[in-house]
């Protein structure tokens, strides 16, 4: 794809960025007196939420789908963005494998957009024809399947697939030849590994589990991270600080809410640089991530309103904005 195609896509994205919620909108939303008022405010902005529904999953999914449809209609070849959507493929694989064992309906757990067709993935798992899956899913699918058969341990199978997803995302980002997408994939892997290590520390998981759960596909030293997770939060903070994540280090020493927010804000700090680019795939990727972040923020606020959290508590959880 040449620069001309990206010029068209970026121009369309810039127009649609006007439809994203601004910081003033979020301030208004946070200060809404209750859940119905917050939903009414969002509906005025065209979100089509159901006041009686507590999850509004369909409306959130619609928002994501709209963003992806815009990208699909603007780019000739969307495979360049595989590194940011491949996580949905691994999510779908998890759902398909688990439903195969529990007999549940995996279709309702399928997520879009994905690199490999979700229905074809479901068929491949149901018929145990992993050879029909794309190369990046085949090995992980077989390993996770074997693990579920042999141990029945869903958590370990999840960890295996999560690690594979992070490794695949980094590989795909390298193929995209976009420095921003690669940095994003590596930082995402680092944040995921840091979160895993932190949770392992909090729940007292053993060394063997940590070895399997931490992917090591980013810039963080896996061994140092696992060793720090066995020691404590301060040691984890030191590893993060040394790796160039001082805010994450500070967050891990504060509490899990702050740490999770800092992880998302670290990713935003990377893709927000595309806000002023006139060309390239980066503004397109950034728009999709901004839409996802927007949905996450709306979810956090609505959930806070439902649970009657104080305004300051909601503000503490809301992620920084792209626009």
């Amino acid at each position: 794809m040449n620069e001309l195609h990206f010029a068209y896509a970026v121009a369309r994205i810039r127009c649609n960025e006007l439809n994203l919620l601004t910081s003033a909108d979020f301030e208004q939303l946070i200060s809404a007196p209750d859940y119905p008022s917050a939903v009414a405010f969002l509906n005025d902005k065209g979100w089509e939420l159901d006041e009686k529904s507590e999850s509004n999953a369909a409306a959130f999914r619609r928002k994501r789908d709209e963003a992806w449809e815009l990208i699909q209609s603007s780019l000739e070849d969307v495979t360049i963005l595989n590194s940011i959507i491949v996580f949905n493929d691994f999510h779908n694989l998890k759902a398909a494998l688990k439903c195969k064992f529990t007999g549940g309906d995996a279709k309702k757990y399928m997520m879009q957009p994905c690199v490999f067709n979700a229905e074809a993935l479901l068929d491949a798992v149901e018929t145990h024809r992993f050879d029909l899956l794309p190369a990046f899913l085949q090995e992980s699918a077989q390993e996770a399947y074997d693990m579920l058969v042999q141990t029945g341990n869903g958590q370990r199978a999840d960890c295996l697939l999560d690690c594979a997803a992070l490794r695949t995302a980094v590989d795909m980002a390298k193929k995209s030849e976009s420095a921003m997408l690669l940095t994003l994939a590596q930082t995402l892997a680092d944040c995921a590994d840091a979160k895993t290590a932190y949770r392992c520390f909090r729940t007292g998981k053993d060394e063997k589990f940590m070895e399997q759960a931490v992917s090591g596909s980013g810039k963080l030293d896996k061994e140092a991270l696992c060793a720090a997770a066995r020691s404590g939060a301060e040691e984890l903070a030191q590893v993060l600080d040394a790796a160039g994540y001082p805010r994450l280090a500070k967050g891990i020493l504060t509490d899990s809410v702050t740490f999770e927010k800092e992880c998302d804000d670290a990713l935003l700090a990377i893709y927000i640089q595309a806000k002023h680019s006139a060309f390239g795939v980066e503004p397109v990727a950034a728009y999709y991530l901004a839409c996802e972040s927007q949905v996450k923020n709306v979810r956090i606020i609505l959930s806070g309103k439902l649970n009657r959290l104080p305004q300051q508590e909601i503000e503490r959880r809301v992620r920084n904005l792209y626009v």
Binding site: E3, L4, H5, A7, Y8, A9, V10, A11, R12, I13, R14, C15, N16, E17, L18, S74, A278, F279
Partner: protein
């Protein structure tokens, strides 16, 4: 060998027209692609987009003007292929190079600036005047080289060597 001077002069005219035209075509295309993206979402911005798209087209016009003047001056358009000395032919070729080279690169640069300006039109249409001004700044260098090329052609054709 007798007409080699004329061949060099025509080569200069061709370079001026081709390189400047090529640069403008690429740049206008680039801005057009970006502009189409804005029009897809908001057709009311067509006027502002069009101004930005026109800007990098001027280099092609300058190249055409230079080539036309040269062809008139050496009487090629009137069909009189009278002999030009090789020195004079080479001098005329050199005279065409400023607008040929700077025309090409300034058109591309202006196209990029104008395409970036399309983003301003998309997000802040009220500020589009500033983006037009910024893209127009690149024009200065194309105009300067046009002047050099035109003045050189006029002087070289008037003096005998």
């Amino acid at each position: 060998m007798a007409n080699l001077g004329t061949v060099f002069a025509i080569l200069g005219a061709a370079l001026a027209a081709i390189l400047s035209g090529l640069g403008s075509a690429r740049a206008v295309g680039l801005v057009g692609e970006a502009g189409a993206g804005v029009i897809t979402e908001d057709p009311s911005k067509f006027g502002k987009v069009l101004i930005l798209q026109i800007l990098p087209g001027t280099q092609g016009l300058y190249g055409f003007l230079t080539a036309f003047l040269l062809l008139v001056k050496i009487n090629v358009l009137s069909g009189d292929f009278s002999d030009l000395s090789i020195k004079k032919g080479l001098a005329l070729l050199a005279a065409c190079l400023p607008i040929a080279i700077v025309g090409y690169f300034s058109a591309i640069a202006q196209g990029r600036a104008a395409a970036a300006g399309i983003g301003v039109v998309a997000k802040r249409p009220e500020q589009s005047g500033k983006s037009i001004t910024m893209a127009a700044m690149v024009e200065t260098y194309a105009v300067l080289t046009l002047l050099i090329s035109l003045l050189s052609i006029v002087r070289i054709t008037d003096i005998a060597f």
